[in-house]
Amino acid sequence: MPLPIESEQGFTRRHIGPSDSEIREMLGVVGAGSLDELVRSTVPASILHEEDLSLPEGLSEPELIERLRELGERNTVLRSWLGMGYHATHTPGVIQRNILENPGWYTQYTPYQAEIAQGRLEALLNFQTAVIDLTGLEIANASLLDEGTAAAEAMSMAAGRVKGDRSTFFVAENSHPQTIAVVRTRAEPLGIEVVVDDAASYEPTDDLIGALVTWPATDGAIEDYRDFAERVHAVGGYVVAVADLLSLTLLTPPGEWGADICVGNSQRFGVPMGYGGPHAAFISARDEFRRQMPGRIIGVSVDVNGDPALRMALQTREQHIRREKATSNICTAQVLLAIMAGMYAVYHGPEGLKRIATRVHDLTRTLAEGLRRGGHEIVHEVWFDTLRVRPSGGSADDVIDAALEVGINLRRFDDGTIGIAFDETVTPEDVDDVLAVFAGGGESGPGAREIASALDPAELPEPFRRSTPYLEHPVFNTCHSETEMLRYIHALESRDLSLNFSMIPLGSCTMKLNATTEMVGVTWPEFGALHPFAPVDQAEGYAALIDELGEWLCEITGFEAVSMQPNSGAQGEYAGLQVIRAYHLDRGDAQRKICLIPSSAHGTNPASAVMCGMKVVIVDVDDEGSIEMEDLRAKAEAHADELAAVMLTYPSTHGVFEEGIREICDLVHARGGLVYLDGANLNAQVGVARPGDYGADVCHINLHKTFAIPHGGGGPGMGPICVNEKLAPFLPGHPVIPVGGEKAIGPVSAAPWGSASILVISWAYIALLGREGARRATEVAILNANYMARRLEEHFDVLFRGKNGRCAHEFILDLRPFRKAGITEEDVAKRLQDYGFHGPTMSWPVVGTIMVEPTESEPKAELDRFCDALISIRAEIEQIELGIADRDDNALRNAPHTAAVVTADTWDHAYSREHAAWPAAWTRAHKFWPSVGRVNNAYGDRNLVCACPPVEEYTGIA
């Protein structure tokens, strides 16, 4: 027998929760002889993928790191002063290690369970406050996906509010090219005409929705837009400013010169460029827009005890409630990155930020002075950190090439000028290097230090100079030592339940392991420090990684081509439907605008369809949550000439592998429509069934669900789309870096590959699991769900099972029978907090139920513990049903119980403190305390406050 000298570092056994012997035991419980038999008894035979996926063997963790190092070495990190909304930044170490690299922060779920999410809610409120202060407007949200889509959202907000029938949106021509392009993509299907022109000479017309200006402009120019804003307002339009947060510490805030909405990228507040993302875009607006504001807004409310408590406010604006009437399809945002940017503001404070901005500006002044002395022309009069330079003598190309020689990327404008955008990482030596490059080998004159010593401190001229103070709240004026910052970050972290405490069994959200080895590459400079518009030959490692990941995703889904642009699942839907729309238009079928969507679909589906100019026709689902074939057939037939697409989720949103999926696809194809497959539930299919094989034409993939990108407390996400040959020519393009098909639609994101740096995570996930591990993950995800369903079915009604009584990777428990006892799904979810768990998805897709998705990563012991908690809660409900526990004063209705409540001198409830706080044995060993009592939702929506309230009202600071 040979000695066992091969590596024992195989990763699959680390990713999969249950051990082999536990898997055997669990198979016995669900009545299957093997994992393969389980899959065959669950998935329709007609769609089973019998061959092995063509994926490589899984790597060990050390091998993976080695491979990633090799790829990283093929990326060249230069000094990229290309600007266009992306700037190098110093991520404070305390923020990088304790937030960006900390699973206590990055594995959190979206803060729907506010009582166990107060930490990140406070951090997001800080972000909103910083945005409100710096932009000089009244309300802000907790981030959007990127600057380009934020600008498009601003256009939609203005369109939703403007009076009368209007159809023109103006964009100043000196805006970033990708912003203009993303706005155009968004405007076209909505019938909005985008006029790109010079703001100074533009005469607003009566059909103007609004006008967007970029401040400072893409080439650094700072212009006085007060008159322009007045002219736009005079015709009843709205003014949108795209602004730079750092510059606003010195510049008059847009809200003071007439902007109604302000958007931008907060990346340079300590978030690595990451070759395009992820970073948090911001949006702020006048208060009148509070009901048009897209995305998640964090608001201040009170809890049941009357103490201040934070929550997500005004959710009725959002797609999950408003569906096809929503103002936006945004769901996942960029929470983790917004938190980082907010913390950067907390750490530096107003004075620190102003120092950073002033220094960047002074270095830019120094460069400008040196260039002028060298005879070069600085094109604009007023600027902050970005110069447009007309070189004397030699051509711009010579200068740019010479810069490249010394490791600097400069921006090339078409008219022979050069753009240089400085940032906080720039040093005087860097300025010397630029001056030398412009001197072209000749005498470059005095150096930066000598030039700077001869310049007087000077502020920006009127009317550009900021006079309004900002960030005066104590939270921005306290934590300026690393010790205080570390403790503040930790204090907030400790209020939030994340995957490092217990499972987060959210149906449809796939909260699986985000393995450390998958995460490490994100913050390596080789992946983190690249500018998205750096020449592609500096990113060969990225190109190889993105190509390989793309091939794997196509193999897994059965498709031909992929676009990595979409930054979320909802954006994937939008991109996929835009591609379908382009396909029909290309064939001369402009009338194909009907989108069939089952009533059980996620709210993003109808919201995305409307954004693509489609008309939503709802298809009925039966009592089992499956599509009513007769209704589908009738509606497809009735609209056969106008049918654009059907949007399906598979397995269904009810967690069932519908038997008729092929038939549904065939039926729609036969009438000229295409099939959009929502990939939210792909975790039940990898290696088992492929959407491209059973009839889908396009599918988005939530990399933050199935492929291990962490949820980040509500973002980042990634929603690349995979398409078949028919749709490949239409994949989105980009105005700066060529990508996409030969008949590409416009870009759907600001960056060519979306949030490129987190593609590293999904690449690592697939590389580690390999062919066998990827399928095994699916099998165990299905096993875990069926095991839990089997354990819980004696205590609860488990709804919607497929063939052989199997669920897919998630299942629904019906809590409606408990209404008679006065107990709702919310009471159960809140009571789970007392047991140390995050509640499952509530009331979706069926009101009055909860949906549990354990994922393959949860070990059997954790599944059992969660089942035990639910069974114990069921017993508590029985006590109410039997009249033993009080109908109104019981541990469920009063949940969750805070430490303050159970240790108070008075306790006047009909049950014991012990029962309230220690409902299960394990809580004695490891207790999670909700930091506030049940949050009053109505109070917060009736009294919207979305910035840090004065300290006397709110003592949230550690």
Partner: protein, 127 residues
């Protein structure tokens, strides 16, 4: 069991109409409707002078987890709106038939009134 005053007319969309002495009608949502919606946080109402066809949407009502259109029960012209709901939308929960009223209208097609329900009929409608 929700409260159903006898002197009102009701619609299938859970709105009521009450006739005033001056011949105008007050429109609001029923006690049942406010109970189903839960805590009302915002009511968007039209302006006085706005005219609506029967069944046209005249506004929206938002609860914490739901938003609904408000439908004109009859063809009508708005003569007054309840501005108090701006500051305190919870009035709809606390007093739907009184302080929680929404709009006062002049009915512009009397025939539309014939299609409305009595308290008994509405009671059967909501089961």
């Amino acid at each position: 069991m929700s409260h159903l005053p006898d002197d009102l007319l009701y619609t299938e969309d859970h709105e009521y109409l009450r006739k005033s002495d001056d011949g105008t009608w007050v429109v609001g949502i029923t006690d049942y409707a406010q109970g189903e919606l839960g805590d009302i946080v915002f009511v968007e109402l039209p302006s006085a002078g706005d005219a609506f066809d029967a069944r046209a949407s005249f506004g929206t009502i938002e609860a914490v987890k739901a938003v609904s259109d408000l439908f004109a029960p009859v063809q009508c012209e708005v003569t007054e709106v309840n501005a108090a709901l701006d500051d305190d939308p919870g009035l709809v929960n606390g007093d739907p038939y009184g302080e929680g009223w929404m709009i006062r209208v002049r009915v512009t097609n009397e025939a539309d009134l014939d299609g409305l329900m009595s308290a008994t009929e509405y009671g059967e409608h909501i089961g």
